[in-house]
């Protein structure tokens, strides 16, 4: 993002987590409340990034392992004569999907709780910041009118 910009910038989805990173603008006259908001957002971003990158990587890895083991059981190699990667059809993959989902259910429940808490907190802080800014703007306007 350009140096003179006064707003946050959001980027393309991350390769591993599929989440879009945000670069937060730090205004020189940032209040304590605004700082709390920014830090909460940064923390949430980092935590989300960690979770999904790890989760997706695990998914990819376990999927590879599953395909490999299934192919081996069938007596096939990972790549056939033409060099193409051998794959399993959707029905065979279904076992893997079911298994993966149940294995990770607890992890997801925990993550859900965390995410909801963070989301509410961030939104609440945003509300507070917006309110403070609005009041400040009104006060300034009143002063201008009086002058």
């Amino acid at each position: 993002p350009p140096a003179h910009s006064r707003s946050d910038w959001i980027g393309p989805p991350d390769k591993h987590s599929n989440l879009r990173p945000v670069i937060f603008y730090v205004p020189p006259e940032e209040s304590a409340l605004e700082r709390r908001l920014r830090e909460a957002r940064q923390e949430a971003q980092a935590s989300n990034q960690r979770f999904w990158a790890r989760h997706n990587r695990a998914f990819r890895q376990e999927k590879e392992e599953f395909i490999y083991s299934r192919l081996k059981a069938k007596g096939l190699e990972m790549r056939d004569e033409s060099g193409q990667k051998a794959t399993l059809n959707a029905e065979e993959m279904a076992d893997f999907y079911k298994d993966f989902l149940s294995k990770n259910l607890k992890k997801h429940l925990q993550y859900n709780r965390d995410w909801y808490k963070r989301n509410f907190r961030i939104t609440f802080l945003m509300g507070q910041v917006a309110l403070v800014r609005a009041l400040r703007w009104l006060r300034r306007r009143k002063k201008n009118v009086e002058q």
Binding site: S7, P13, I67, M93, A94, Y97
Partner: protein, 440 residues
């Protein structure tokens, strides 16, 4: 040859822009799309990730995506495959018919070394300023409120209103429709507010406004409140308290029950089916002011319809659901998934037969609707037996036109109020009189 990519984007003004990009992309061969993802986006339009999201009932306008799909036969499409870090395949293939489409193996998905959530256009790969532009706002809010799905929900409610055995009142009808629409917008916005990281990880939903940072969560919540509160107020004060209560309950059910439940248990599908069944009930109560058997029947028809519709659709999204942590029958209990879909297809036949018994329609309704109900049941049976992608797709697409057609037939077979009076049908007449007293 000329490769034309026909994007069904939400913003029409974006299309020419995209075309230019696509010609560049075509030359670069650097960014590729999976045709399957494209298809997913096409037929999942009303679905929402929530297609992973819950479907709210649809109505007449659903026919359009189906027609669009038909046009695929005539169009040449470019099929891209995502070029991963370790290049596996970089090939261009041209699909000119839906048959070739079916031959698209899921191999395309498994070959990638990076989770293919879709590369997006070149535009997507840039850094964007997170500043709200007022001229973008209508489009953003439309996408946030899932305006197309909302329109379908409203049309289902309108059908409920129209089927009620009372004289048609235009203002009441409009107020009820508007209130329902606003309530639906609110519910959809809150749903998206809750699901940002999950939406990012699923192909169907990764282009939502909150995911892309086009709008802040605070604004999304404010928008939801500014739709929901007036919507429910309009229903409660402008129509009747019962409809308002149903509307509020439906918002609660969708946002606070269905949405979190999606990640906890497969029961979410049943809850979601109730969410879909309530709008026509609301339409009916808006007209009559009471919860009659007719309202429940209409709700029941929509409730049953949800299952073949959703279960068939979710069959093709198992990978995304599994990775995203969504508890769906198609992943955890595939046999149950197919059984339930079939069961409810058959239930539709039963419910259609009950309609004339309750004096809502004439006996021509079950007779005329039998062919389409039998057809969807047949597809449901095929899905049950074959359990593969093609049967699930067939069932899903059938459900898209089945519902509007069923509702239309129902409306045309509606038992005329006069007819009931002539037959000396006491309950009908007394209700008429009660209506006259109640109406201002």
């Amino acid at each position: 040859g000329l490769f034309v990519w026909r994007l069904r984007s939400t913003g029409v003004r974006q299309i020419p822009h995209r075309f230019v990009h696509l010609y560049h992309i075509a030359n670069d061969r650097s960014i590729t799309f999976q045709y399957f993802n494209f298809l997913k986006r096409m037929y999942v339009t009303q679905y929402n990730k929530d297609l992973s999201q819950r479907a709210k009932p649809k109505s007449d306008s659903i026919v359009s995506p189906f027609h669009e799909l038909r046009q695929l036969d005539q169009e040449k499409k470019v099929v891209h495959k995502i070029s991963p870090v370790s290049p596996v395949h970089q090939s261009w293939s041209e699909t000119s018919s839906r048959n070739e489409l079916r031959e698209m193996k899921s191999a395309a998905e498994t070959e990638d070394s990076v989770i293919p959530v879709g590369a997006g256009s070149k535009e997507d790969r840039q850094w964007k300023e997170m500043k709200l532009r007022l001229d973008d706002l209508p489009g953003i809010l439309a996408r946030l409120s899932k305006i197309k799905l909302t329109a379908l929900v409203v049309s289902t409610a309108s059908t409920g209103f129209a089927m009620a055995p009372v004289p048609f009142e235009l203002t009441r009808f409009l107020v009820a429709s508007l209130g329902t629409g606003l309530a639906s917008c609110a519910a959809n916005s809150i749903n998206q507010f809750f699901e940002v990281p999950f939406d990012s990880n699923m192909n169907r939903t990764k282009n939502r406004p909150l995911v892309r940072g086009q709008i802040s969560p605070l604004l999304a919540v404010c928008f939801a409140a500014s739709c929901g509160v007036p919507g429910i107020a309009l229903l409660t004060l402008g129509v009747n308290p019962l409809t308002g209560a149903l509307g509020a309950f439906n918002i609660f059910l969708y946002t606070c029950c269905y949405t979190p439940l999606k990640r906890m248990s497969i029961a979410n599908t049943w809850v979601g089916a109730v969410v879909g069944a309530i709008p026509p009930i609301m339409g009916w109560t808006a007209a009559t002011g009471s919860l009659d058997a007719g309202a429940l029947l209409l709700g029941g028809i929509l409730y049953s319809w949800q299952f073949p519709h959703f279960n068939a659709l979710s069959w093709g999204l198992r990978e995304d659901y599994s990775r995203g942590g969504y508890c769906m029958m198609s992943v955890t209990h595939p046999g149950l998934c197919r059984r339930v879909a079939l069961r409810h297809c058959l239930a539709l036949i039963g419910l259609s037969t009950v309609a004339p018994v309750l004096d809502i329609t004439t006996w021509t309704f079950p007779i005329i609707s039998l062919p389409i109900n039998l057809y969807i049941s047949y597809l449901g049976f095929r899905f049950y037996r074959d359990a593969d992608r093609s049967s699930s797709r067939k069932l899903f697409f059938c459900s898209l036109w089945h519902l509007p057609m069923l509702l239309l037939v129902m409306f045309t077979c509606k038992k005329s109020v006069l007819e009931k009076e002539d037959k000396g049908d006491l309950p009908g007449r007394s209700r008429e009189r009660a209506m006259e007293i109640r109406l201002p």
